[in-house]
């Protein structure tokens, strides 16, 4: 079973929920898919055993074969290729802007001269290891790179179907979030009871409805703010899976990178109960299908 943890708004407690859920269960695999700002390793402190660079394919033109016809520029939807035409003494050449390339392969496939081959461009790194009994995978995007969805997909290639998979997603509602939560069996949306929390929760709910992923809500810092998140969940028949109160001690543990459930049986039990609720709902949904 794959459970992703997402939020819309940043800083609501995605990593807290994902990490503590993983630590409360057995036979889990943890995937940190917030590749722009991965934080789960701070709490899980995995021993990294394998470190593999992540690449995307980008075009490179062979000047000996290229006749600067401009076909590659024409087919590239991302404006990642410029062609300096022949003439006026210029031999003509192809300029590639690798940062804009999505790696679709159109240029190399459609070049009439077969002058374009694809070379690997490093966009980040995927690391795997163990955090106690938890299998751990995370990706880290290189500074200045923008293709986080591609790196997220490469992290997700490591999914182990024999374990309960917990995915820590990035904030927001756009492509990196979609890449992270896609194909999950269930998504936990973490929010806080503030106007910002509610606004971004409603956006995240729309994303999950579009992706047809079942979901429930965890309300973090549940005793601050107002009751509009609760009212919204009730009105839209969204399950509130867990409430975590605001507590300076919880904030202090978080600040030091210490997971909440460490030496806290009560919370461990709460996370385990939440998992049971999720699996029950998942099986029921399966039966209805």
């Amino acid at each position: 079973m794959i459970i992703s943890v997402a939020s819309g708004k940043g800083g609501t407690g995605k990593t807290t929920v994902a990490v503590n859920l993983a630590l409360s269960l057995e036979n889990t695999q943890f995937l940190d898919c917030d590749v722009e700002e991965p934080n789960a390793h701070i709490f899980l402190k995995p021993e990294i055993k394998e470190r593999i660079a992540a690449f995307i394919p980008v075009p490179e033109a062979d000047e000996a074969k290229c006749n600067a016809c401009g076909k590659c520029r024409e087919v590239c939807e991302y404006h990642a290729i410029a062609v300096i035409p022949k003439g006026d003494g210029a031999i003509g050449s192809v300029l590639v802007f690798p940062h804009l390339c999505h790696g679709c392969g159109a240029c190399s496939l459609l070049c009439p001269q077969k002058a374009i081959r694809e070379v690997n461009k490093e966009i980040g790194v995927v690391e795997t290891g163990m955090a106690g009994d938890i299998q751990f995978v995370h990706g880290t995007l290189n500074i200045g790179e923008i293709m986080s969805p591609s790196l997220i997909r490469q992290v997700k290639k490591r999914i182990n179907p024999f374990r309960t998979v917990i995915i820590d997603a990035p904030p927001g509602t756009s492509c990196p979030v979609i890449a992270a939560v896609k194909d999950s069996d269930y998504c936990i949306l973490v929010t806080e009871p503030t106007p910002f929390g509610l606004n971004d929760l409603t956006l995240a709910v729309e994303v999950l409805r579009k992706l047809k992923i079942p979901f429930g809500v965890v309300i973090n810092r549940a005793d601050i703010g107002d009751d509009k998140v609760d009212n919204y969940c009730q009105a839209n028949k969204i399950a509130v899976l867990l409430r975590i109160p605001f507590d300076r001690e919880i904030a202090r543990l978080y600040s030091r990178g210490i997971p909440l459930v460490k030496d806290n049986v009560e919370y461990k039990e709460k996370f385990r109960m939440m998992f049971e609720t999720i699996t029950k709902r998942h099986h029921e949904a399966d039966r209805c299908r």
């Binding site: 923008i146 986080s148 927001g172 509602t173 971004d200 579009k210």
Partner: protein, 289 residues
């Protein structure tokens, strides 16, 4: 005209509440909300909508089953696994590269432009405000960010405004790069947690990669004074000015619930500190060089 962007790396550190306070303090400015996929600044600025524009960007493949001869070439060549074995295009996976439409032997696939969101120009009691809504599960947030920054610069030029104040998105990827490239100053808001420091460092690296000067604020600095010390030590070593320390105050959430900026809703130390921060940011050109 000076462009100032508020970023953080980690979400939820207080970007929008600070930006909103700057809206109340700065004279002659235009505000921009560049967190286009989870925009919240409007909840504090209460915009009166003046203009609404469609944001068309990117394409999606559309397959005409009547023309299709089921050869399967598109399925095999799509790098994004966006066409299923029974020839249905998954619009969420489709990255709009157009390869399928170019190689289809019977011309059954056309590319349709996406309505990827909208951008808005509003009036607020603080002055003009440019904001946007990215469509649910859409991509190209970076392009939408670039668009609204361009619109804001035009307004600032036309109305002879002194500042463009940008509320940035979390992370370090595509929309963040679009929000901070070419600004005069990036104000990094962080919190004294190991995650906060980790993420601030990464966004600072991005800012430096794009040659943007950086100032830093530690929000909720008293949650963990030891880590606040570490952040300040790091900034000292990196020649980054720490231009403010804001203490934890429950009144911040109360002001958000009231839909007001901190400086208009709260009294005491926090209000004074934000006044000082804005004074430093606006008065001293040295910070912006």
């Amino acid at each position: 005209m000076k462009q100032i962007v508020v970023v953080s790396g980690k979400g939820g550190t207080g970007k929008s509440v600070l930006a909103a306070s700057f809206a109340a303090l700065a004279k002659n400015k235009v505000m921009v909300d560049c967190d286009v996929d989870a925009a919240d600044l409007h909840l504090l600025l209460h915009p009166i909508l003046k203009e609404r524009h469609e944001f068309r960007s990117g394409k999606t493949a559309k397959l005409d089953k009547k023309l299709c001869n089921k050869c399967g070439k598109c399925i095999a060549l799509c790098r994004f696994s966006a066409i299923s074995d029974d020839l249905i295009v998954d619009s969420i996976s489709c990255e709009g590269c157009g390869l399928c439409s170019l190689i289809c032997p019977v011309g059954a696939i056309t590319m349709e432009e996406n309505l990827a969101g909208e951008w808005l120009v509003s009036d607020t009691k603080y002055g003009p405000f440019v904001h946007a809504k990215l469509g649910i599960a859409e991509e190209n947030s970076g392009k939408l960010v670039a668009k609204i920054r361009e619109v804001a610069r035009e307004i600032a030029g036309r109305e002879n405004l002194e500042y463009v104040i940008i509320d940035g998105p979390p992370g370090i990827g595509c929309p963040v790069i679009a929000a901070l490239s070419g600004v005069d100053c990036a104000l990094v808001v962080t919190e004294p947690t190991i995650s906060g420091l980790h993420d601030a460092r990464r966004v600072i690296e991005v800012a430096r990669h794009f040659k943007v000067p950086v100032n830093l604020i530690v929000n909720k600095y008293d949650i963990n004074k030891e880590i606040t010390g570490e952040i300040e030590k790091y900034c000292g070593a990196e020649c980054i000015s720490v231009i403010g320390r804001i203490g934890f105050d429950k009144a911040v959430v109360e002001s958000m619930v009231a839909g007001k900026t901190i400086v208009e809703h709260c009294g005491g130390a926090i209000r004074e500190e934000i006044f000082k921060i804005w004074e430093k940011l606006s008065a001293c050109d040295a910070y912006l060089v």
